[in-house]
């Protein structure tokens, strides 16, 4: 017999003033450390890509709103967040049409045709990225993208190097401190590990994302990578490089936590984050992709409705002698 | 009862008519289809193997039966006057089924003129390179008949395509089969060419 009583007070309720606009604004604030670092590192082309990505995402949503004769919803900044995250995942040298096609897929196919905000079964940003990666692999080769840049660190994409040279060679090329401080080649907003973590912690403290997904995600990366690297340290790298390179951290804090495509109860959230991370390491170590983050999280988006059925019993059910 | 009979009669007549019609169309198009297969699959391979020839191998082809299977042989007069013969063998165990290999053999000195992959269903970009990229099959060019044509890791003389060992193996099997076939059937081939 359960004696706990849930009391709900009478109306009127107090609205705490929060809104979609507030939430999305805070997500954008949280990305700032990584974004600013990316702009400093990669210069004006990075500003161009980010600005184009953000604005084109909002324009696509506006166009879709007008065509479908619905209320204009760009004011909630949701597509702005999509555009910003999308831009953060592109190399700074991306051509303009790549950005615009990507935001089209992300906003229109990823979000609007499912019914707009909150109705998308997949993370729109990842949908856009997956489309682009399948079509234009060339532009996601970070080694080739930054061939004209001068860096004061190893100008090799860590994960691609890991794939082709093995863990031993990579360990010397990429000291962990460099990776954490963003001294690595990668997408605009994904290199500065520390900045992403700061942003993520800010979001957790403000309550816009729950701690379960990022934490279980990171635990998943560490556990799986450790298992692999203990089995064969020559081929498989340890958790450090997996955690601080590629899209891992941006995935943990900004992509896997996207509201409508991630679970909402504690156990499902823990499972969701953990298995997304397991899939990432499996794809990186066994699959053909250098960085499996995008496909791994999309895969878990598919599983999301299933694992979200692990939930507390609804009130009033299961009563036998009513 | 009447309905029953009409059902049986209608269906029988319908299938009989349709069978007859199809047989007629089939026999009407058969030569044309064979010519098309020759033109689009075999002729380009043969053209690459022999280069310019002085006769029409498609017209002078002959058939030899061996071990219950029929093989088509295409005789060719090469530009330098020597005689050669081309035929197709199927290499078992490709990634997507059998791999067809056309081998041209010079009858004068018993050397392989060249070999080309004709029909296959291998993975594009991997196994399909056996056909698209002649570098691999060029290894057969000018090999004497007694060469061991298996892959290098099986003590043979052929380098496998990197990333497509299974396809390479199937192609070498077809080549070895062609060697055997030619050795066994040479007297008959000579008889037919004369």
């Amino acid at each position: 017999m359960n004696n706990n009583k849930l009391t709900v007070s009478h109306a009127p309720f107090w609205h705490d003033g929060d809104s979609l606009f507030q939430m999305n604004l805070n997500i954008m604030i949280a990305t700032l450390p990584a974004v600013i670092f990316g702009i400093i590192q990669f210069g004006t082309p990075a500003v161009g890509v980010l600005a184009l990505s953000l604005s084109s995402a909002m324009v696509w949503e506006l166009i879709m709103n007008v065509i479908s004769k619905k209320k204009i919803t760009i004011g909630d900044l949701d597509s702005a967040v999509i555009g910003l995250l999308f831009g953060m995942m592109l190399p700074a040298t991306s051509p303009w049409w790549l950005v615009i096609t990507g935001t089209f897929v992300a906003v229109i196919i990823g979000k609007m045709i499912f019914g707009g905000i909150g109705a998308n079964p997949f993370n729109p940003v990842l949908m856009g990225m997956a489309f682009l990666m399948l079509s234009w692999k060339v532009f996601f080769d970070f080694d080739a993208a930054y061939v004209n840049y001068e860096f004061n660190f190893t100008a090799l994409a860590p994960l691609a190097a890991l794939k082709f040279q093995g863990a031993q060679a990579v360990a010397e090329l990429f000291p962990l401190g460099d990776l954490i401080m963003g001294k690595q080649v990668g997408a605009i907003g994904s290199t500065f590990g520390l900045g992403i973590i700061i942003g993520g912690i800010y979001l957790i403290l403000r309550g816009y994302i729950r701690w379960e997904i990022p934490v279980s995600f990171i635990v998943g990366i560490i556990v799986t990578a450790l298992c692999f690297s203990m089995a064969n340290p020559d081929i498989y790298a340890g958790p450090g490089i997996h955690l601080f390179s590629g899209y891992t951290l941006i995935g943990a804090f900004f992509l896997a936590t996207e509201n409508s495509s991630s679970p909402s109860n504690r156990i499902p959230m823990l499972l969701y984050g953990f298995f997304a991370a397991v899939m990432i390491i499996l794809m990186r170590n066994i699959g053909v992709y250098a960085d499996g983050t995008i496909l791994a999280i999309l895969l878990l988006n598919v599983v999301n409705p299933l694992i979200d059925t692990i939930r507390p019993k609804a009130l009033g059910k299961g009563v036998n002698n009513a | 009862m009447r309905e029953m009979i009409s059902m049986v009669v209608v269906l029988t007549v319908l299938t009989a008519v349709s069978g007859g019609l199809l047989a007629a169309v089939k026999s009407g198009t058969q030569d044309k289809i064979e010519a098309q297969i020759f033109k689009f699959a075999l002729a380009p391979a043969m053209n690459q193997i022999f280069g310019e020839v002085e006769n029409d191998p498609g017209k002078e082809k002959f058939e030899i039966e061996h071990d219950g299977a029929k093989y088509q042989f295409y005789p060719a007069k090469l530009a330098d006057g020597s005689k050669a013969v081309a035929f197709e063998t199927k290499g078992k165990g490709g990634y997507g089924g059998d791999v067809g290999l056309m081998v041209g053999i010079n009858i004068g000195n018993d050397q392989i003129v060249a070999a080309r992959v004709t029909t296959h269903s291998e993975t594009p970009g991997l196994g399909a390179r056996a056909k698209d990229d002649p570098e691999f099959v060029n290894q057969f060019t000018d090999k004497p008949l007694d060469t061991n044509l298996s892959l290098k890791n099986e003590n043979g003389s052929i380098d496998a395509i990197s990333g497509a060992t299974i396809t390479s193996k199937a192609v070498t099997l077809a080549a070895i089969q062609a060697q055997d076939l030619y050795k066994k059937l040479k007297p008959e081939i000579l008889k037919n060419i004369q």
């Binding site: 051509p95 049409w97 399948l134 234009w136 | 309905e3 059902m7 299938t15 169309v25 198009t29 033109k39």
Partner: protein, 202 residues
Amino acid sequence: MAQSLAKEFTKGLWAEIPPFRLVLGLCPVLAVTKTVENGIGMGVATTFVLVFANLLISLLRNVIPSKVRIACYIVIIATFVTIVELVMQAYTYELFLKLGIFIPLIVVNCIVLGRAEAFASKNGPALSVADGLGIGIGFTLSLAALGAVREILGAGTITIWGGNPVFEMGPAFHPFAFMVEAPGAFVALGLMLAIMNLIGSK
């Protein structure tokens, strides 16, 4: 009479255009529309089968007992499909290689059986031929349109006939390879359906 003939013919071109309005026969629509050429080839083959199957079925509609009608329709349709297959093999071998298994699969295309059951078995031969021709041409046009969208985005070319592109984008164009892959077919079809509905709803 002439008026209703025209009506039956034109309804297949817009009001009941198969893949977009009826959403039927999607298997070939999705599978073979990598290029315009493939789409047209498939459409013409299907049109041939539709017209002759409709004609024969409507001629025999009073003879065929209703209990075995589906079996009879399938026999008739399969016969014409096999004829198409043999003829294509004999005269357009390259196209036949590209369409491959989808030529024999016209037998199970629901448009063909659907028209036989819904139209030809209830109407006279002239009307049935008009219906088959209209639906067939509509199907061909849809396949060609979808093929054009996918080919121009996915490969940057337009191939109408014979394997040589009649139109090519310049080297500055980077093909959106996703569109010629299988999932791209679904996305392209969905967007085209949406556009059709948008136009139709006005």
